[in-house]
């Protein structure tokens, strides 16, 4: 590409505290409209906010996990704008003094590690939700508003403009999700809006030092749309420059269906949010002792977990990355490892058959019905030669259906592998006798014929024969 793309991401993360940011209403997703509400989160006249300390704790925890400096003196500001989903006419946020500054996240890109700077993390409250009578606000007769989400706590994580491709942006988001899941501060469900991101995108000719004029892309509601939206935007901006035009500073919105971005407002039309310190909330101090206590609660983070898997357990970097990306998967792996020593096999099953089954059923690891210990037990049966890899698939299917232990399934269905040399020799002799043409072909140097003969023996033994032994026996008999 003849231009370099510069990307910075602003990620909004909904925190899974029990109660809202500034009142004691439940923060959980859903509920009948306007049932998780009170005078404070509906902006009743005279109502006041009181900070939920758990929100600060979660923000600090995130800051520590992203290697930030936690600021001691903290304050909230009001961000002023009118919209019906914003009941007070301002959002409580932190502009002047964000709680975390100067961190980083390491991502893997093209086999190398790249460090992406984190400029800041600040706390703010979410808005409510408008429900339009038509498809959009402009073609609706009326709209109604649900304040259940109003004042649910959010943190905004702002990255440095260190990302250089749509692919990197997506990897960064996925890494961020891993970390946030590990530390347990958010559900990170993009489809429910608990993880949302805006991208600042600009391009420049390689020889140019300064950044180009950027546009801000909103409505990137999935990992896929993060990548696609930025891909579209870099092409759009390149076309503008190639035609001798100038990219203008503006906010654009991503249209997932049409695969394009639309201009929302130019720099001139940008809101003046008139931020000022919120006089209803007293400044608070994050004492270093408190921060240290929160640091002690940090679990093993994705990078450390990956190191453990590639180091002591000997997994490849590729497999380890796959296993650790989602917390539920990584925990499933660890659980399985309590019952077997074969890390490679566990990883293969998780990244192979289990993932495939989850994908085809549109489910997540946390929904997977088979206990990790049963996967381990199955692997152990294979390794002991009791179960063939081929019949293991049958056992796997049966575990999904009945939840029974693999040994029980093997016994009930008579799937035990035949490794008795005498019994197998008889079967091998019978097949050679029944298929003289193939036997001759193999002897004449056609290796493919051996595969056919192996298949016939397997058929003869209803799949229970040990394939390695058949191979060996056939070669001996036909040599």
């Amino acid at each position: 590409m003849k231009y370099e793309t510069i990307i910075g991401l602003e990620t909004h993360v909904e925190l899974k505290t029990a109660t809202k940011c500034f009142c004691s209403c439940p923060a959980e997703f859903g509920g009948e409209p306007n049932t998780h509400t009170c005078p404070t989160c509906t902006g009743m006249p005279g109502a006041l906010p009181v900070l939920n300390k758990k929100v600060v704790e979660f923000a600090i925890k995130t800051g520590l996990a992203l290697n930030c400096e936690i600021q001691r003196y903290n304050r909230f500001d009001r961000k002023n704008y009118f919209y019906p989903d914003l009941p007070k006419g301002y959002q409580i946020s932190q502009l002047f003094l964000p709680i975390c500054r100067g961190g980083y996240v390491d991502i893997e890109t093209d086999g190398a590690t790249k460090r992406i700077g984190i400029t800041r993390i600040h706390i703010e409250e979410d808005a409510g939700k408008l429900i339009h009578s038509g498809a959009s606000i402009s073609d609706s007769d009326f709209s109604v508003v649900d304040y259940n989400r109003s004042s649910v706590p959010l943190i905004e994580i702002v990255s440095e403009p260190d990302l250089r491709s749509p692919q990197e942006a997506r990897i960064f988001m996925e890494k961020l999700r891993s970390i946030l899941e590990y530390i347990g501060v958010s559900d990170c469900k993009m489809q429910e809006g608990s993880l949302r991101c805006d991208a600042n995108v600009s391009i420049r000719p390689p020889e140019q030092k300064e950044f180009g004029v950027r546009s801000e892309i909103k409505n990137l509601n999935s990992f896929r749309s993060v990548q696609r939206g930025i891909e579209y935007e870099q092409i759009r901006q390149a076309a503008v420059l190639d035609e001798g035009g100038k990219v203008i500073q503006e906010t654009r919105t991503w249209d997932e269906e049409k695969g394009v971005t639309h201009s929302m407002r130019s720099k001139e039309e940008a809101h003046d949010y008139r931020y000022f310190p919120d006089p209803d909330l007293v400044p608070f101090v994050a004492e270093p002792e408190w921060v240290a206590k929160i640091a002690e609660t940090l679990p093993e983070l994705p990078d450390a977990r990956k190191e453990r898997l590639t180091g002591r357990l000997g997994l490849s970097a590729y497999d380890a990355s796959g296993v650790i990306a989602r917390l539920a998967t990584a925990d499933y792996f660890d659980e399985a490892m309590k019952h077997t020593g074969d890390a490679k096999a566990v990883a293969n099953w998780i990244l192979g058959d289990i993932s495939a089954w989850l994908n085809s059923n549109n489910l997540e690891m946390r929904d997977f019905p088979v206990a990790a210990g049963n996967i381990s037990a199955m692997i152990n049966l294979i390794n002991k030669g009791v179960l063939s890899s081929k019949l293991a698939k049958t056992v796997f299917e049966e575990m999904l259906k009945s939840g029974k232990a693999p040994a029980e399934i093997v016994r009930e269905k008579g799937l035990e592998q035949i490794s008795d040399a005498g019994a197998l020799a008889l079967a091998v002799e019978k097949i050679i006798k029944d298929n003289p043409k193939s036997a001759e072909d193999y002897k004449a140097g056609k290796d493919r014929a051996l595969g056919f003969l192996v298949g016939q023996v397997m058929k003869e033994t209803r799949g229970r024969a040990n394939p390695e032994m058949i191979n060996k026996l056939l070669r001996e008999k036909l040599s």
Binding site: M44, P45, G46, L281
Partner: protein, 489 residues
Amino acid sequence: MALYNLPAHELGNKLRKKEVSSVELTRGFLNRIAEVEPEIGAFVTLCGETALESAALVDAKIGRGEPIAPLAGIAGAIKDILCIKGVKTTCSSHILDNFIAPYDATVIAKLKQNDAVFIGKANMDEFAMGSTTETSYFKKTKNPWALDCTPGGSSGGSAASVAAGEAAWSLGSDTGGSIRQPASFTGTVGLKPTYGRVSRYGCVAFASSLDQVGPITRDVTDCALVLNAISGHCEHDSTSYNLAAPDFTKALTPDIKGMKIGVPKEYFGAGLDKMVEEKVRGAIKHLSGLGAEIVDVSLPHTEYAVATYYIIAPAEASANLARFDGVKYGYRAPGCRNLIEMTVKTRTQGFGNEVKRRIMLGTYVLSSGYYDAYYNKAMKVRTLIIEDFKKVFGKVDILACPTAPTTALPLGSMLDPLSIYMLDVYTIPVNMAGLPGISLPCGFSGGKPVGLQLIGRALDEMSVLRAAYTYEQSAGFHKTAAPLGGVSA
């Protein structure tokens, strides 16, 4: 003297001695309201029915021989800026004229626990923006001492109702003098507590860093009683002090021997009415005669206080009043075709001129490019004003000065907002520094009351109350009831 002209603590004694019942007292106030309200116009909403119900409950308690709280069964007027569940709370604005509060303000909940009786919601300047109660959307309130004059503001209805015998006590709110100035104009006692002493939860916000709820009463004793009932930490207000309030009635001892009272020279400058100055200086002399030591002091940044206030208060107000958009409650302009039209028309039609003026001022000083020059600069000057007081309070215990530069002004006499703003020149600095301040009558000029202001250290309402009580008991101006020019008393 008619019962309606007695202070609440005396009425309380009569209740406890069963000389009168709460229902009788409440009926007495309702009759008085029926008689004088057409002249005074102190109320936006009357709560006669619920008031009588509350009174009957107190009578039942007394009948069972149960102990009752000091304010139990005694009718008070509540400034219409405070939410009472199920009662209209309008802030004297068109934009809230149909708003029924779904919850109780903390001060109301506390007063309910004390079995107080709420007789009505008192008129005020719209959203407490004004110094004459004339910016009310509903009506003009008149001064019971001179019916052609304003009772002051913004808590004009609260002050007038007490002065006219329509309520025994009242609650106001004070952002730049809105309790003390009307108290001064109506010969009542008005106390603005230390910022954070009383919960703001349920008090519709004007300027959050300055607003404070407080009593307007007939005498200093009642002031202490009401303050006792409404003070204390509130879990819904992060700016409320997390400490137990003292028993303020302990301050009611007539003894100020050795108390150092500072007289700030900047509070006696140009613009101060000669007669007001004379009365206030007379009161200071009186305090000296009672054993206080008078010390001349200086608060050098006083002259910047009004200008600073008119940046900070509108800035906060511009955000606080953004919630009135026609979406959730209150007035919504009819016939709007889209969202922007609804917001613009609702606010254009719903707010009065003074409110709009301050929203625009506040929006301007917070705007990109002006924030540092105005808001940030004002916050720095505010710090200087706070420092002034800190220095002075190293030398003296309280300060004495006028509450307002004049006595009550004729209705409609000051159409120029800037001269109206100057009425608060002696009260605004006290809000800026978050200090307690009281106004109590110290004489009359042309038949209209003059107010003496006493200012204390943060959280030292005790010294302020003690000095006020000592002066009041000796000078006795609180005993004169308003004549209600022409209305039979």
